[in-house]
Symmetry: C2
Subunit: 363 residues, 2 copies
Amino acid sequence: MSALTLAVLGATGLVGQHLIHILEQRQFAQRFGTFTLKPLASERSQGQTVRFMGQDVPVQLAEPDAFNGVDIVLASAGGSVSEALVPEAVKRGCVVIDNTSHYRMQPDVPLVVAGVNDEALKSHAGIIANPNCSTAQLMPVLKALHQAAGLKRVIVSTYQSVSGAGKEGMEALWRQTEALVAQPDTPVEKIGYESPGALDRETFPIAFNLIPMIDVLLEKPDVYQGYSKEEWKLIVETRKILELPELAITATAVRVPVMIGHSECVTVDLERALSPEQAEALLKNTPDVVVSPAMSREYPTPKQAAGQDPVYVGRLRRDSSNPETGLNFWVVADNLRIGAALNAVRLAELLITMNLLKFPSVA
Amino acid sequence: MSALTLAVLGATGLVGQHLIHILEQRQFAQRFGTFTLKPLASERSQGQTVRFMGQDVPVQLAEPDAFNGVDIVLASAGGSVSEALVPEAVKRGCVVIDNTSHYRMQPDVPLVVAGVNDEALKSHAGIIANPNCSTAQLMPVLKALHQAAGLKRVIVSTYQSVSGAGKEGMEALWRQTEALVAQPDTPVEKIGYESPGALDRETFPIAFNLIPMIDVLLEKPDVYQGYSKEEWKLIVETRKILELPELAITATAVRVPVMIGHSECVTVDLERALSPEQAEALLKNTPDVVVSPAMSREYPTPKQAAGQDPVYVGRLRRDSSNPETGLNFWVVADNLRIGAALNAVRLAELLITMNLLKFPSVA
């Protein structure tokens, strides 16, 4: 297990930077022997370096041959980059942990949240998908509730931060807020996004506003007509990770003027009664979850969750529309960590400790 | 109907100012004959004037005898003021439209949203209650859906603006945002509220954050243990206005860093199937409601709703957790108008046009 080489594809992006930071924080090198970090990015980032373990590591061009000799790739450069380069990496013997949505729903690609469905890693054939941020933070909570009382129906309303749209999203919120603080009556069209693609319509500011549409409308919606891609991801990824293909679940995804930290308001119908106190006790014993006292005034906010590893749960109480078997709660996590970089690094750790770096077929 | 005298109790507050502005906008005087505006407020506001119809009208002290000769009182000075002064006004022959929560759930006090349950006005005994802002904007929509297909269950997650907490809420968001724009790493404790009571805990900023708790936890929660007062209001007021005392309904109320405009993400289970297209057609014909095309990318935001009268509905689509009889949608309105001042003025208009200014018992 010595001389491991780990490539970060999209090393200069928001999640890429978090990946490198978390590799340091978790003492990846110290725990798994000397290893080489290979930061990869597009031509735009050539000549840049990334800081890692006290060294400035040059960013290399993300091209097929860059994956030669690499053991693990953490891919976070967008769906089209993953589509083009992940097969090249797999061809060269890498195991890829892909943060994009490109491979997530392929049947032969395990979709894994560390600590929730680690066993699924065993069936990988070179690619492991990291779920969408809004899905990932729900999984430890829903898994625990399902095991205890059976999930029957899940209704989610999200409150997602702009960092889910990358650096551009954060810059847009900051720029718009600055403009409005400087001159409160600045017309909307003067504070539009420079990069409309990052969030939604350039004519709608996100500063002091909400955008109830994240990502595009589904192109082939099937039964999900009128759903955004973000909502669809939350629905189908949850079913795949929990191995509940028929789970009744719906979601509405809303962008809020928060920098970091996604929040979710959740209603669950359970097969069997579970009191708020029982759910609290259960979640207290669930790894990666920090739960506020049930039915109390204590609650997590995105400001508190930002920069932290756990998934925070609060506002746990009976669902007054289904008091026998329903619960309401509020889930908050750092979307750049649990929802992206932290989970990717934990999956890399699991690949090593579970001895899954060679494909099962050639092991 | 000439020489009507209308008092605004709490005339210098945020809703009070909106009340006076809306009386002007709706040409109340022109439509209902010469009338006198009597702005009332506490000692703190003595010596101030309010601008109305081109005149500076002196603010008078809110005391029992100030109601002598007044026909209609629009009360918006907080629950404890209404508790003390509304009976005094009624004693003096006024009909009071009360914006506070103090009388809303009393069985002999009609709780009315103009255009939704106007008939309930007929049973008033001097006091008519205006519902909470987050309740009011839902009512035209839920009423229409109930009449068409029967409401079975309602699940609401709110995204409520700081103006719901009055001027202090708006000032807190503005001050905190200014501080963070000037110095992004300002510690939380340095940007706390000067008036913690207006929103929640002084240690949690609302700028770039969310507060998933509006108002206090219920003191005598009964089956609503762990619910905030704001959530309870939405639940019990909805049941009262729709005359559905057994309606299965739950709510989670969340404060968001938006100045004006409350948004709500709603899931409804209906008794009978209603397609998104049918619901769209229905809401197109519902007074006071503006609906975006079902299953489209068009949607309302609080920025657009601020300053406008209608209730805006968007994101209308099937609930994927209950595709047969469920719908999801997004409701946005100006909480200071539909949720407070506009509804109060419309109720005053109805009292006049329905000839309900004298109590039914003495009519």
